[in-house]
């Protein structure tokens, strides 16, 4: 039996993007149901959940002003870079304030999202205690199941013969994993750098293997959070080339020459890879507590050989090699999969269906939840128009999916890597979303507007 939910939308996941989608759908006057697999909201930031990938020491790497929901700022009592505990409390108060808890089902896993007649969707959910499955039909679905929970594990020659422990950062919840051991951290994403630093503080020896040299940005430079300075330069509309020069000189002045620390010289320009924000890594390299290494050549027993011919005895390898987007409940064809990742207009709309939207499939060079808010606003405003004037909404959708291949790189050429599938330059992206919203609003016209 299928329960017809009429004009309601379903939202998959109650992380920040799911919450924002749910709130904005309700705010434009639509009905909406949110489904969450875990027993609490927060998604990745719900530390105790099975699929949460934050570790005990996780803090934000972007500051509050453009990381928070713009219509629900983080408390003034929070620091510039809040911890994951604070972030989780923040999401809870957001959900309480906007009355989302009444619309959320916890401990409820979405097992199938399947198309029904008239662009509608059948959503089958399973109660994780009783195992009982229920199918409801919705006018549309917002998928916000996150893209940082399904581990991507690399394969190196001899990896199967390695006698030490192989772990992915997905299993890394605290420094207990590395305490007193000889540790190899693989990958220089923000997690890789955090884990390397934590390992430097707790392990016997720490090696850090990276494919290339990177720019390690400090959290604070010249007495201010460095991302706020970066946004100031963007606000002043300085050209990319000038910003590159300024960033590199500030890095040189405040952190120094990476090569003198024994790190490799970056093989790319600034803004071509996702920013790494870590003030401590270079410090520990300077103390010998982190030994930088190039890519792994092969494993052999308890030894790891690197590309530069060096080798090290290792007890634990922590692969901080990232995650892949994974949609176990939906046929991939609906998300315009290219290889192992969806290619969507604005990272939201799929060419395969006008009533399916994805939120959160972004990796901004800035804070996340300001963008979560505007993605939610866009989807909700579109959904409202769809209910009110389907033909106008269809025009908007058709124009939108013609831009499926448009990326928002801020003028830079991102390095070709699974790490940059969802990379966006936040200001360029938000300007596009704002234009979309203005178009939608001029199409609906039923809104009260002040001059």
């Amino acid at each position: 039996m299928i329960i017809d939910r009429g004009g309601a939308w379903a939202v998959v996941g109650a992380g920040p993007h799911g919450l924002s989608a749910l709130k904005n759908l309700l705010q434009v006057g639509l009905d909406a149901d949110g489904y969450e697999r875990a027993t609490d909201l927060g998604g990745n930031w719900n530390f105790h959940a099975e699929n949460s990938r934050v570790y005990e020491s996780t803090h934000l790497i972007s500051t509050k002003p453009f990381t928070q929901f713009p219509d629900f700022p983080m408390p003034d009592s929070y620091p510039d870079y809040p911890s994951h505990w604070q972030v989780h409390r923040y999401f809870r108060s957001y959900a309480e304030h906007f009355g989302l808890l009444d619309h959320l089902s916890f401990n409820t896993e979405v097992v199938a999202v399947a198309p029904a007649d008239g662009d509608r969707w059948n959503v089958t959910v399973r109660d994780r205690d009783s195992g009982v499955e229920t199918t409801r039909q919705y006018a549309g679905v917002v998928i916000a199941n996150g893209h940082n929970w399904w581990p991507k594990i690399p394969q190196y020659p001899g990896q199967d013969t390695f006698t030490g422990e192989l772990k992915h950062s997905a299993d890394y919840k605290s420094a207990e994993v590395v305490r007193g051991k000889r540790v190899l951290v693989v990958g220089a994403g923000n997690t890789g750098c955090d884990v390397a630093v934590e390992s430097a503080q707790n392990a016997r020896e720490t090696f850090h293997s990276t494919r290339r040299g990177y720019y390690y940005n400090p959290k604070y430079a010249l007495g201010r959070p460095s991302d706020q300075t970066a946004d100031l330069l963007l606000a002043l509309r300085l050209p990319l080339g000038l910003r590159r020069v300024m960033f590199k000189s500030v890095l040189r002045l405040t952190v120094g020459d990476f090569e003198k620390f024994g790190l490799r010289k970056p093989d790319h320009e600034f803004f071509e890879t996702h920013p790494i924000v870590n003030q401590q890594l270079v410090y520990y390299v300077g103390h010998g507590d982190i030994q930088p290494r190039p890519d792994i050549a092969r494993f052999e027993g308890s030894t790891v050989h690197f590309d530069d011919g060096t080798s090290a005895e290792i007890d634990v390898v922590v692969f901080c090699t990232g995650y892949l987007a994974h949609f176990p409940f939906l046929d991939d064809t609906y998300l315009n999969m290219v290889g192992d990742h969806p290619v969507l207009a604005r990272q939201i709309f799929t060419p395969s269906s006008p009533t399916l939207a994805v939120s959160g499939l972004i990796q901004p060079d800035s804070g996340q939840w300001t963008i979560a808010h505007w993605q939610g606003m866009l989807v909700a405003t579109y959904a409202a128009l769809l209910a009110q004037d389907p033909r106008a909404a269809r025009r908007f959708y058709d124009a939108m999916v013609r831009e499926t291949d448009v990326r928002f790189t801020g003028g830079a050429e991102y390095k070709d890597s699974s790490r940059h599938y969802y990379e966006i330059a936040h200001q360029e992206y938000l300007r596009a979303i704002e234009r979309d919203l203005q178009r939608l609003e001029s199409m609906s016209g039923a809104l009260v507007s002040a001059r």
Binding site: Q27, V28, T63, K64, P65, F66, P70, D71, F72, P73, P75, D76, S77, S93, E96, H97, F98, G99, D102, Q228, T229, D231, L232, L234, A235, W374, Q427, L430, R431, I433, E434, L437, E441, S442, G445, L447, V448, S449, A450, R451
Partner: protein
């Protein structure tokens, strides 16, 4: 919709790159007993009051807050930075309207559900700027500072109160006395209230001169004015109401500070009835 382009609601460059520093915030509140346990859908919505130029949260606490709480509304009033018992007095000379918006947004996040926002005079402009980024349950604008910018009032101010005009132009606080604020108060009470007025940020005052382009706003809007207002003229009220496509409610016989003046019960009941009916 307007032909003139409004500034971006998405790209908040200055808030991102130079965020307001936090200050101690005075928030007065009365939450009726048992309110929190009532079902969310049927209980009275919270009301957040925003005071006007040189005032403080105290102006709402005198009369309106206890009266509204008595009728079951949870009521909150914030003193903007540099006002009332909030901090930031020393930085008042560097305070902008967006700092006040920040203070109100911070207060909103501490309220258990979306409030109706009631702004008075300059507070009405702040309330509208807040509604530009946050959807309140309702937006009530009482004797609102002109949405079209107060610059047009300057010639008349210069004519009628040249000393006051000169003071404002050099960054002093607009002098407000009993004759501007009240119609029906005895001298002692009026003097006591006027005595509680503080200073205003010169920059916020200058910003009041400029036009504000706001919207779209997706909540019920109420605009209340009084023909006996000697601070905000009828044109400001009419323009504000027109911007939101509503008719203003006119309440003759009461002064600009309609939450303190004799006869304060009438405007309060207009606001509360509107909340009951529309929000």
């Amino acid at each position: 919709m307007t032909s003139r382009r409004k500034s971006s609601t998405v790209m908040r460059m200055w808030d991102w790159s130079v965020p307001p520093v936090s200050t101690h915030r005075e928030v007065l509140s009365i939450v009726p007993e048992g309110w929190i346990d009532q079902p969310r859908a049927s209980r009275k919505p919270p009301i957040l009051f925003i005071h006007g130029l040189a005032h403080g949260a105290w102006c709402w606490a005198e009369r309106w807050m206890p009266a509204a709480a008595e009728l079951g509304f949870p009521v909150y009033a914030v003193s903007l930075r540099g006002h009332g018992d909030s901090g930031g007095r020393k930085r008042l000379g560097r305070t902008l309207m967006r700092h006040y918006v920040h203070d109100v947004m911070q207060t909103i996040t501490e309220i258990p559900q979306q409030p109706v926002i009631v702004g008075h005079s300059m507070g009405a402009i702040i309330a509208q700027l807040v509604a530009d980024r946050y959807q309140p349950r309702g937006l009530a604008l009482l004797t609102p500072a002109p949405i079209q910018g107060a610059a047009y009032t300057l010639p008349r101010l210069i004519q009628r109160r040249p000393a006051a005009a000169a003071k404002v132009l050099v960054g002093g606080t607009l002098p407000l006395g009993p004759e501007q604020l009240f119609c029906n108060l005895d001298e002692t009470t009026a003097a006591m209230y006027v005595d509680r007025l503080g200073r205003e940020s010169p920059w916020a005052q200058y910003e009041l001169m400029l036009p504000h382009r706001i919207g779209p706003v997706r909540c019920p809007v109420l605009v209340v004015g009084t023909p006996d207002d000697r601070v905000v003229d009828e044109r400001a009220v009419t323009e504000t109401a027109r911007a939101y496509g509503v008719d203003p409610v006119w309440l003759p016989g009461i002064g600009h500070d309609l939450m303190l003046d004799g006869g304060w019960e009438k405007p309060l009941s207009v606001v509360l009835d509107w909340i009951d009916e529309r929000c």
